[in-house]
């Protein structure tokens, strides 16, 4: 039994007379201690997927169909009070910008103990001790002193460490991280990623990592989900997807990376751009940008097919020639 089971989840945003569909029935599951990555470009629906798992969709967005089964209950149907026992407690979230996540007028210590006391009946002193030990886990130097610091006194990397410490406070079984390192420099990004990998593995925490960066996902996760225009187009073991992508979109993404092209040469590009939600083409939504598209692609919506460990949603999956890596992949 999977820890988290998302089934045919649909999300829509009613806008006046129109209704925009942001998710067209996505399904995936996460086992205990598993790390999966959701990859895609802006507008692919990856953040909406994460927010809907936690019931954090901003109005007027709503889940119009599907289930989110967590520990044998459908958490998408819970009310606010019931959800509060799960969100931030059993499932934590890490957002992109640590400065927006932390409250600028409260000390780190206040924010951490407040979170603990909201979820558990413990004394102030106990909460403080747990907070300090979590700050130590994320390798913040002299955590006792940092408890009294305000967020602006810390650097970007340190702030994100604090955010991770807060996410770990209640020993959750899942952490959802939405672009946790996008706002950080490469050297800091590498440190934070190494830290998250270690913490998740040591504490047997499941991780849903949402990012546009295929390289980061390939380093940290065991399984990858590639999204395009509100649908999952490919899913599989990380190594399989990276070394042998099946869907033309995934291939395009990998081939567009500079490290996959010889220096100075023109980069392989995917023509066009992600469609807006109100202009998603009929049939396969990738068809206007795809080299393999034909008439059938304009009519039929492809389903995920292939062996369970590596599926892709493309009608012409058998017709597409084998993937040839041009560079960095060996």
């Amino acid at each position: 039994m999977a820890l988290l089971d998302v089934k045919d989840l649909e999300v829509e945003f009613p806008l006046g007379r129109k209704t925009l569909k942001a998710l067209h029935g996505i399904s995936f599951s996460l086992n205990k201690g598993e790390r999966i990555g959701i990859v895609g470009e802006s507008g692919a629906g990856k953040s909406v997927a994460a927010f809907s798992i936690l019931n954090l969709l901003s109005k007027p967005g709503r889940i119009s169909a599907g289930e989110v089964i967590f520990e044998n209950q459908d958490i998408s149907k819970l009310n606010r009070d019931q959800m509060r026992h799960i969100r931030g407690n059993r499932i934590s979230m890490i957002f992109q910008d640590p400065m927006m996540t932390l409250n600028p007028v409260l000390t780190i210590g206040t924010q951490m103990t407040e979170c603990l006391k909201a979820h558990r009946a413990i004394s102030k002193e106990e909460a403080r001790q747990i907070s300090i030990s979590k700050l130590r886990d994320v390798m913040i130097p002299s955590p006792e002193n940092r408890m009294d610091s305000y967020p602006h006194e810390l650097s970007g990397g340190m702030r994100q460490r604090v955010v991770i410490a807060i996410a770990l406070l209640t020993d959750p079984s899942i952490i959802v991280a939405d672009e946790p390192t996008t706002a950080l420099d490469v050297t800091i990004q590498a440190e934070i990623m190494a830290l998250m990998l270690e913490l998740c593995a040591n504490n047997n925490v499941g991780l849903i990592l949402i990012t546009h960066d295929l390289a980061v996902v390939s380093q940290v996760t065991e399984r990858i989900i590639v999204m395009y225009a509100g649908r999952i187009v490919e899913e599989g073991q990380t190594q399989d997807v990276i070394t042998n992508p099946k869907h033309p979109y995934t291939r395009g993404l990998i081939k567009a990376l500079p490290q996959e092209n010889s220096p100075g040469a023109r980069l392989n590009q995917i023509r066009g751009s992600m469609p807006a939600l109100d202009a998603i083409p009929a049939g396969c939504s990738f068809n206007p940008r795809c080299d393999f598209a034909d008439e059938q692609c304009h009519k039929d919506i492809p389903q995920l097919t292939g062996p369970k460990t590596h599926t892709a949603a493309c009608i012409h999956i058998d017709r597409i020639p084998a993937f040839q890596s041009t560079g960095g992949l060996t």
């Binding site: 802006s42 190494a194 390939s218 380093q219 395009g252 567009a256 220096p263 023109r266 980069l267 960095g328």
Partner: protein
């Protein structure tokens, strides 16, 4: 002197940049931010010169100083052998025509109240007031086509376009005056992966067709490896390594460059194992003594905290590091 092929296109000589300071009579004294410290670089014609470094290392400040958006506190900037940093705006005009800039965020760098056509014709109207309407129109169309934009977009406003399209419009604006030299400050960081490739291709095509020289600022080292001919790595307002792109990626010498390269996420499944650097980047308000990197450097010795290493020839590359000089790296 000016059109001599031996003259580098842009020479940056001992440039320093200070922000802040002042105060003291009625207000408390303000701290001085030393954003650039004794930076010297030369950019040859046809170069795709890349500046890399982390946030706050001064790479954008250097770009803005070169293009004249903030005059340097000390040092000189020469264009084709002519000193340009001390010119007033009228004397500067012949040079501004040849130097253009592309900014990071295409959502902020295009005027939302001007149509694409108005945005593109403005530089022509300023620099070539005698140009007829028909000439302007044909020039705008030519440039729009060359960056892969539909010329009929002219009557539309920036909000009607996607990020990649907008960035191509800003590239078109930079190309309107047929410049020789383009400063691009993180032109693709705000874009999606598949769009990054499109925009980089447009920039590389333009370089070939128009014989452009780029000063390309980025924090993305894989883009540098692909795009750059020469690279300068900056740390806290100083250049710590200067090299040809191939050499830098094959054999990074400076300890900071090594750490930076080890941190690039790779897609080949090699996992995350960055070179550990101790501590945090110090602020430019309170620079460490001696080598600015010594507080985090695994090779630092007592000498590094006393003396400032100069950029020295080291085979094909230049490095500013005592440990490299002494053969300890």
């Amino acid at each position: 002197m000016t059109e001599n092929t031996k003259t580098p296109l842009v020479e940056i000589e001992n440039v320093e940049m200070r922000f802040g300071g002042g105060g003291g009579f009625l207000s408390s004294p303000q701290p001085v931010v030393k954003a650039l410290n004794d930076v010297s670089l030369t950019i040859e014609k046809g170069d795709a010169f890349c500046l890399v470094g982390e946030s706050g290392c001064g790479k954008s400040t250097l770009a803005r100083t070169v293009i004249g958006l903030n005059p340097p506190s000390a040092g000189q900037i020469k264009y084709n052998g002519n000193r340009i940093d001390n010119l007033n705006s009228r004397d500067r005009q012949p040079f501004t025509k040849k130097m253009q800039m592309i900014f990071q965020n295409p959502y902020a760098s295009l005027n939302p109240r001007m149509t694409v056509y108005q945005t593109l014709e403005e530089p022509l109207k300023i620099h070539y007031p005698a140009m007829s309407r028909a000439e302007i129109r044909s020039k705008v169309e030519e440039v729009m086509l060359s960056v892969g934009n539909d010329p009929t977009w002219g009557e539309r406003y920036p909000h009607e376009f996607s990020g990649g399209q907008r960035q191509r419009i800003s590239i078109a604006r930079a190309l309107m005056l047929d410049p020789e030299f383009i400063v691009a400050d993180e032109p693709i960081s705000a874009l999606d992966v598949s769009i990054q490739a499109q925009v980089l291709n447009v920039m590389m095509d333009a370089q070939k067709e128009r014989n452009l020289t780029y000063l390309f600022i980025t924090h993305d080292l894989s883009v540098v490896e692909h795009f750059g001919s020469r690279v300068a790595v900056m740390y806290l307002g100083r250049v710590c390594e200067l090299s040809h792109t191939n050499d830098l990626f094959k054999t990074p010498r400076h300890p900071y460059t090594q750490a930076l390269l080890s941190a690039i996420p790779k897609i080949d499944g090699s996992g995350v194992n960055p070179v550990k650097m101790s501590g945090e980047v110090p602020t430019a308000m309170d620079l460490p003594s001696g080598c600015v990197f010594h507080t985090r450097c695994p090779y630092a010795k007592e000498r590094c905290s006393r003396e400032i290493p100069a950029l020295q020839d080291n085979g094909d590359t230049k490095t500013a590091c005592f440990a490299v000089e002494e053969g300890r790296v």
